[in-house]
């Protein structure tokens, strides 16, 4: 039993050992498997990584290819576009060629051609015979120009060989070289003649492939063309920057040492027991009683100009005072700089202005030279100034007032000074602002003294396009208007709506004491204007029962005071008070007074920026331009022979597209165009007529209105017909027209320019087109005016008045005003043609047209 148990125990132990061994073997095998699996996993992972990298690279490559494809597509589209354009051009060229060939064929069949061709054959035969007669025709062709070249002083044989060593090395005669190839290679003939510069300056010569020196010798010289000199290269090719050394004096004047001058400043004057003038400090003393009284009166006049008794005392100490003003200009908005000519060689000038209840010294300096300048630090750039002249010790020896300093250069009223100078009748004009100020102050004094009532009692400001930044809204100018001129200012047009308008109406308002009640007139200004001094001091004449509205002259001045201002005035008696659209450019006077003459009523600050092409094409965008819907039919007269067919087709399209106008009819004068005729029938069904000549055109017109449309004119604005019709609602208008512009593609943009805005006279009587000066176009932009003649190629009139347009009588009456509007424009599809139009209205007398004058200061 025990043995069995022992044996079983041994067996169990052995069995256990065996199991353990087996387990160990299994574990070892599993561990190997795990190691193998791990190695496998690492391999797989590396493989995956490699694949991922590959995929990324492929993605990257793909995106590159996509980008490339995009670029290629873009280029393809671009090329395709160019191709399409070229195809179009080719097509057009083929068409033109076919036309030309047809024309040639036509002419070849004609009798004159046959005569010419037979004579040309004869000539060719003679020429050939001549060639046979002479031995060396080519040589002859060369010899004559060669001789010309060699005789010319501009061809320098030695210089040529020295400058172009390759020519020298080749052994070719330099003249022959230049004649045959040299000029084509851009070589110069000599130091006195630059081939490239001549060709650049004379594109016609370059285009025709003519030797430039020969052209100059044979033609250019007699035509006044210049011979540009040879220019050596300025800098070595690699040099991009030029360093400048210190400036060297180019001119020097001998100068004598300045004599030492000692003068007493205000506050430092040793007056002793003498009669001292105090303005804050001691500013001088009097030796002469008359001067003392004059200066005291003038100072009193500064404090309250509106007291007539005081105004009278302003002025000067006489024509031959101690100093005369040479020049005066605004350095900025608050500094006036003056120059003086001292009669005795030198003088001390002190400047006073009234401020805060008392006179104040605002500048002083010793003047011994015409170039010495004195700055006045103004308390108000519009208030009167008093100049005191003293000797070096401080003794006052004279005075001079400047009642209206804004007449000085850079001041708001400077154009008025220029005009007054021109009207003074003196050769070169009297430009002394002191003198003109005194004259204007005298008128103010007469008005204040009750000699006559003021012409203007109130100013109304049109706030339509105001932004509140003009002088009329600024305190300094308002103070001047209130205190010096006493005129009331209010918003034009009564009640105003909206926060901005309310603010502007309040900001512009000045309500000082009434000026002569309601008898005087009201001056209506744009918000970019200021009233002229002449208008403010003008007296009114006998009153009439009827209060009338008159357009008044004004001067337009840019911010740039070196530029001339322009004076513009409309015919006073005939200008319709209502105008058309918004004639906002002109000040108006509503008055019952018959005395309206004044040189200028207002100064307008002209915008300095150029007009944008959009503004020239559409000066007033829809729907802001009001046109009355007219039912009056319009006959459009066109001369198809003067037109290119495409332009005519386009013009007919735009006439058909007109809105708010009466029904349109087309009258073709001359031969009826085939293509355009069909289109016209399609667009104006039953309202197309053709007449052989202009005489027969008149009976063919059965509409109240007729319009002449010259070659290439396109009504790009659909309101044009309605606008023209509206202008003719006014019986005083004989013709109605709009400003013509040209439109040209320039690079990526468009160049739009004024082409024709009719003819207006100058004050001196000469006539010129408005478009001659682009500045005028800017000044008259969005305005309406009357001219001597309307624009040549587009105008409308009443059909019954058309007969007078056929008259050859140069003195025929136009029957009213030629009114032109810059509220709408029309354009030329291609440059306007020259020559006389087949139909044009008689010119008006200059006094019935807007007149302008350039005010050169």
């Amino acid at each position: 039993m025990v043995g069995n148990l022992l044996g079983r125990t041994t067996l169990i132990r052995e069995l256990g050992d065996a199991v353990t061994e087996l387990g160990n073997l299994r574990i070892a095998a599993l561990e190997e498997d795990i190691l193998a699996a791990r190695a496998n996993a690492r391999r797989q992972s590396a493989l995956i990584h490699a694949l991922e990298t590959e995929a990324k690279a492929a993605d990257y490559e793909l995106s590159g290819v996509r980008e490339e494809l995009k670029t290629v597509k873009r280029k393809y589209r671009s090329v395709q576009q160019i191709l399409e354009q070229e195809r179009g051009r080719l097509k057009a060229a083929r068409k033109d060629l076919a036309k030309a060939q047809a024309t040639v064929a036509y002419y070849r069949g004609s009798l004159p051609w046959r005569i010419y061709s037979s004579s040309a054959g004869l000539m060719t035969g003679l020429k050939k015979a001549g060639q046979r007669f002479f031995d060396h025709p080519r040589k002859r062709q060369r010899e004559q120009p060669l001789a010309l070249l060699e005789q010319s002083t501009l061809f320098d044989r030695d210089w040529y060989l020295e400058t172009y060593p390759d020519v020298a090395a080749s052994g070719i005669d330099p003249a022959v070289h230049y004649l045959e190839t040299g000029w084509r290679e851009g070589r110069d003939a000599g130091p006195g003649f630059s081939t490239s510069a001549y060709l650049k300056a004379n594109s016609d010569v370059a285009a025709n492939g003519i030797n430039p020196l020969l052209h100059y010798v044979e033609y250019g010289h007699s035509e006044g063309r210049g011979a540009p000199e040879h220019a050596a290269p300025r800098f070595p090719a690699r040099r991009r920057r030029q360093d400048f050394g210190p400036a060297a004096p180019c001119v020097a004047f001998p100068s004598a040492p300045e004599p030492f001058s000692r003068w007493a400043r205000s506050g430092k004057i040793d007056a002793g027991t003498r009669d001292v003038l105090q303005v804050g400090n001691d500013v001088g003393f009097f030796r002469d009683e008359a001067i003392k009284l004059g200066v005291q009166a003038a100072i009193a006049g500064l404090s309250d100009l509106r007291q007539p008794s005081r105004t009278m005392r302003l002025g000067a100490s006489g024509q031959s005072g101690p100093a005369a003003m040479l020049d005066a200009w605004y350095v900025n908005s608050s500094i006036l700089r003056t120059r003086w000519q001292a009669q005795g060689g030198s003088v001390v000038v002190r400047i006073l202005q009234h401020a805060a209840g008392a006179p104040v010294l605002i500048g002083e300096a010793f003047v011994s030279d015409r170039l010495d300048a004195i700055d006045a630090k103004l308390f108000n750039p519009f208030f009167p100034l008093l100049f005191l002249f003293a000797d070096c010790d401080g003794a006052i020896i004279g005075w001079q007032s400047l009642v209206f300093p804004s007449l000085c250069r850079g001041g708001l009223h400077y154009p008025e000074l220029v005009l007054l100078a021109q009207l003074s009748g003196v050769e070169g004009g009297v430009t002394d602002p002191c003198l003109h100020s005194e004259e204007l102050a005298g008128r103010l004094q007469l008005m204040l003294a009750g000699e006559h009532g003021p012409l203007i009692s109130a100013i109304e400001v049109d706030l339509t396009e105001a932004d509140g930044s003009g002088p009329l809204f600024q305190p300094d100018f308002q103070n001047w208007l209130r205190e010096i001129t006493g005129v009331a200012v209010t918003a034009h047009g009564g009640a105003v709506a909206g926060d901005q308008r309310r603010h502007l109406a309040t900001a512009v308002q000045i309500l000082p004491e009434e000026r002569a009640g309601n008898k005087a007139g009201r001056l209506i200004l744009g918000s970019d204007m200021v009233p002229s001094i002449s208008a403010l001091v003008a007296g009114c004449g006998p009153l009439e029962n009827v209060r009338q509205s008159h357009a008044m002259p004004f001067a337009a001045a840019s911010m740039e005071h070196s530029q001339p201002a322009t004076l513009l005035f409309l015919p006073r008696s005939e200008w319709p008070s209502s105008g058309v659209g918004r004639p906002r450019a002109f000040p108006r006077l509503e008055s019952a007074s018959s005395t309206l003459d004044m040189p200028v009523a207002a100064i307008r600050m002209a915008p300095s920026r150029p007009l944008h092409e959009a503004e020239l094409l559409v000066p007033v965008a829809a729907p802001k331009l009001s046109v009355s819907k007219s039912s009056a039919g319009i006959s459009w007269l066109l001369w198809p022979n003067d037109w290119r067919e495409d332009d005519l087709l386009q013009s007919l399209e735009t006439i058909a597209a007109q809105t708010d106008a009466g029904p349109s009819s087309i009258v073709f004068v001359g031969s009826e165009p085939a293509g355009a005729g069909r289109l016209a029938e399609q667009l104006f069904v039953g309202r197309v007529r053709s007449v052989p000549n202009v005489e027969e055109a008149l009976p063919a017109i059965d509409t109240p209105l007729a319009a002449y449309v010259g070659p290439n004119v396109i009504l790009h604005d659909r309101r044009t017909a309605a606008h023209l019709s509206t202008m003719l609602d006014e019986p005083r208008n004989a013709t109605a027209s709009v400003v013509m512009v040209t439109v040209e593609k320039r690079g990526k943009g468009w160049l739009v320019a004024t082409a024709d805005a009719g003819t207006i006279p100058t004050l001196s009587g000469s006539e010129r087109t408005v478009a001659e000066q682009s500045k005028d176009a800017m000044l008259l932009w969005r305005a309406t005016w009357s001219g001597v003649k309307p624009p040549r190629d587009l105008w409308m009139t009443r059909a019954k008045s058309l007969a007078v347009c056929l008259s050859s009588d140069r003195d025929a009456d136009a029957g009213g005003l030629h009114i032109c509007s810059a509220l709408i424009t029309a354009s030329y599809s291609s440059p306007p043609q020259g020559g006389s139009p087949p139909l044009s209205p008689p010119a008006n007398a200059p006094h019935r047209a807007l007149r302008t004058e350039s005010l050169v200061g």
């Binding site: 500094i335 308390f379 509140g468 305190p475 094409l617």
Partner: protein
């Protein structure tokens, strides 16, 4: 809730509008659980964008119209911010395209935002009844203790030296309107009067370089005091405001200026500067702290008691809370959006078709975008771009407008129309079909070889109207978006 503000470029984030308005607002909005992000329109894809509210900011082009339309159709609320007024000058032909853009944009939008009631009225004139939110620009955070110290120091220094350091900062010019430097010059009477009162003035102008051209510098030269001029930078502005006693901020009364926000005055006041603002009362909400005329400024300076002073800080703080608190502005804006009426009934069901009608100058990106959302890209006779259009309109003399459709568009034609379509031929590599009664005569009629610009100007509105009518007659009612970016004065058609 996610708000996306669509901006014209990445660089715009540095602009005062983005920097002050949206950056300050975003913090307060996030407290209300609203995230606000600014996205460059060139990087924005309206098909995949995830936002509940889209605000278009200064993106005056067709991409914005299309993005607004696509997101609106996807159920987002779409608004436009109009903090500049290029829209009320109806007579100005230079701004035709802006008016055309706004007219279209407001038909898509659920709301509009602006700075002033005056601008709200302008919006009302374009689309009566549209919800408009007047959003005040959030003011910078106020540090009363610092402000107290700064103001005391500045006042003491000004009185001791009898010197006013005066600053003007901002954009000095605008391509369309006289603003900035021209305002400073026009209203410089006030500076003159300050100087005349016996107080020395040192003026510094911080502005953009573009405005300092000959004209700008000429205006600077007319100022009654010599001015130091420097280029504007954000850091430069902070430094200047920390040094200056007062800011001179004149405002003219034209629509563009009157539509501006309070932010310049608010920034100046928050930096402890006095503000002198003559001209249009743009900053009326802050009138208690602002000098509207120079006389009272001079008097107060002499008496040492300024409108923005140590004794008025609490009032100023209250005013800022009322008109410039970012928290309250954010809350009011969130409330406005919650209360926003549902315009779906007014606008009708989402239109089945979307037509992008390309005008004289268009944008290629929108062409791709409209095709990607299943819309039709339509070439009009005015468009000269070479894009793979779905529908092409050509004109012939006599007013005939012919319609050609691609294979893709052919499938979308109304059944009755489709049956009349006839094969036209290939344009480029693509097959086109003629649609319409007169199509057969189309090739026989004379085409304007190169239509002149004047002719295009004349025909633009009527042809555009015809195009849209033909599209709706052929493909069914839809939304037409006119893509026109040209500065030329094309008359705005009523589509």
């Amino acid at each position: 809730m996610r708000f996306t503000v669509l901006i014209p470029s990445e660089a715009y984030k540095g602009n005062a509008g983005a920097r002050i308005r949206y950056a300050r607002l975003s913090g307060a909005l996030s407290d209300a659980g609203i995230s606000l992000s600014l996205e460059d329109i060139s990087q924005f894809d309206p098909r995949t964008a995830k936002c509940e509210v889209l605000i278009i900011s200064k993106c005056y082009d067709t991409r914005a119209l299309l993005a607004a339309k696509i997101l609106s159709d996807r159920g987002a609320r779409v608004g436009v911010d109009l903090f500049d007024d290029y829209f009320s000058q109806r007579a100005d032909s230079r701004l035709s395209r802006y008016r055309m853009w706004l007219g279209q944009m407001l038909t898509i939008c659920d709301f509009a935002m602006c700075s002033t009631l005056a601008m709200a009225k302008v919006i009302e004139s374009y689309r009566p009844g549209l919800a408009v939110h007047v959003l005040n620009d959030p003011a910078p955070d106020l540090d009363n203790e610092r402000l107290f110290a700064v103001m005391s120091e500045k006042l003491a220094a000004a009185q001791a030296a009898n010197l006013v350091r005066l600053a003007w900062f901002g954009v000095g010019d605008n391509p369309y309107f006289p603003v900035g430097l021209s305002d400073v010059a026009a209203f410089s009477d006030s500076i003159s009067r300050l100087q005349r009162s016996g107080i020395a003035v040192e003026l510094t102008l911080l502005t953009n370089v573009r405005s300092l051209d000959a004209r700008g510098l000429s205006m600077v030269s007319t100022l009654p005091v010599s001015a130091r001029v420097a280029e504007w930078t954000e850091a430069g502005e902070s430094e200047l405001l920390s040094e200056c006693f007062a800011c001179f901020l004149p405002v003219n009364a034209q629509g563009f200026s009157a539509a501006k926000s309070l932010n310049r005055a608010m920034t100046a006041l928050a930096a402890g500067c006095q503000v002198i603002s003559v001209g249009y009362p743009l900053y009326a909400a802050l009138d208690a702290f602002i000098y509207r005329e120079i006389g009272s400024f001079i008097d107060d300076l002499r008496q040492g008691r300024m409108r923005l002073g140590t004794d008025t800080i609490s009032e100023f703080e209250a005013a800022v809370a009322a008109v410039g608190s970012s928290a309250s502005e954010a809350a009011k804006f969130a409330e406005f959006l919650r209360e926003l009426p549902d315009y779906s009934a007014e606008m009708g069901a989402a239109a089945s078709s979307l037509y992008l009608v390309h005008g004289f100058a268009t944008n290629g990106a929108t062409h791709k975008m409209v095709q990607a959302v299943g819309g039709l890209s339509v070439k009009t006779p005015f468009c000269h771009d070479a894009l793979s259009f779905d529908v092409i309109f050509e004109t012939r003399f006599g007013g005939e407008v012919a319609m050609l459709v691609s294979d893709k568009a052919l499938a979308l034609l109304l059944p009755g129309v489709k049956s009349q379509a006839t094969q036209f031929g290939k344009i480029g590599e693509r097959n086109f079909w003629k649609v319409g009664d007169n199509a057969s005569d189309f090739q026989a009629q004379k085409a304007p070889p190169v239509p002149s610009l004047p002719l295009l100007l004349s025909l633009y509105p009527s042809v555009m109207q015809t195009v849209v009518r033909r599209l709706e007659a052929s493909f069914g009612p839809g939304s037409a978006i006119l893509s026109e970016t040209s500065p030329l004065p094309f008359e705005i058609p009523s589509l």
